[in-house]
Amino acid sequence: MVPLSWYLIFAAALFSIGLFGVLSRRNAVAILLGIELMLNSVNINLAAFWRYGDDVSVMAGQVFAIIVFAVAAAEVAVGLALVISVYRRRNTVIADNIDMMKW
């Protein structure tokens, strides 16, 4: 049987990879890709805690993962709409160049 620690360390590694993508990429679409990786690693943790909990008939972990799916879909739809809108007006998707609200 796989111990719980393997899942948690796997999710931590995936989260760190996503964090690196969010902090380092210049393209706004690539930053959103990194956010997706981070959300997925959180979902692995939720499913693992549901399976390894004392009582599998308590569904809180899976329900929380479903809510995260919905929030991720909403986030990516609005985020990509913003990127496309900015691209139409400013002709760029480089996050450093989108600085009109920067003081």
Binding site: L4, W6, S16, L23, R26, V63, V76, V78
Partner: protein, 169 residues
């Protein structure tokens, strides 16, 4: 090493390798396709965890909708896709250091936790995870309110995305 452990390790290595390619690949279409393979790895992880409904939803929603949405967005912003400059910003080493620090910090934090080596108990006979999840999502004693709030959030996001991306001539 049991077969289950070997399966888990293979899937985890595949997923982490694909995830690394997502954040380092220069061509964004390739990055989006690597995201698809990462999401498949995560779906297999759900299947290994006996969360069959999550595995199916992962394939349908994430790969079928979100990854395709990413590919569309990359194509609609095509001019910058073959951006001549570097794909990383000039502080990428700071991001890499922070990511490594996060992983090492989480690793040592988890080492000190007593529940780390827990192994899963066998599922009770006759237990149906999908039926249990359906009951939990629709019964007033369960999570029907967060479920409805999620649907309202999706409608709001749909309307908002159409409004923001609408091309006013």
């Amino acid at each position: 090493m049991t077969g289950e452990q070997i399966t888990f390790l293979a899937v985890a290595l595949f997923t982490l390798g694909s995830g690394f390619m997502v954040v380092t690949s220069g061509n964004l279409v390739h990055a989006a396709l690597w995201l698809v393979s990462t999401l498949f790895g995560v779906a297999v992880t759900y299947a290994v965890l006996d969360a069959s409904f999550l595995a199916v939803v992962q394939v349908v929603v994430y790969i079928g909708a979100i990854a395709i949405l990413f590919i569309f967005a990359v194509m609609l912003t095509r001019k910058d896709m073959r951006d001549q400059g570097p794909q990383m910003n000039k502080n990428w080493w700071f991001g890499a250091a922070l990511a490594v620090l996060t992983f090492v910090g989480l690793f040592f934090l988890l080492q000190g936790w007593s529940g780390m080596s827990t192994t899963a108990t066998a599922l009770p006979s006759g237990f149906d995870a999908v039926a249990g999840l359906g009951d939990a999502l629709t019964s007033p004693a369960g999570y029907v309110l967060p479920f409805e709030v999620a649907s309202v959030l999706l409608v709001a996001a749909l309307v908002g995305a159409v409004y923001v991306a609408f091309n006013r001539k």
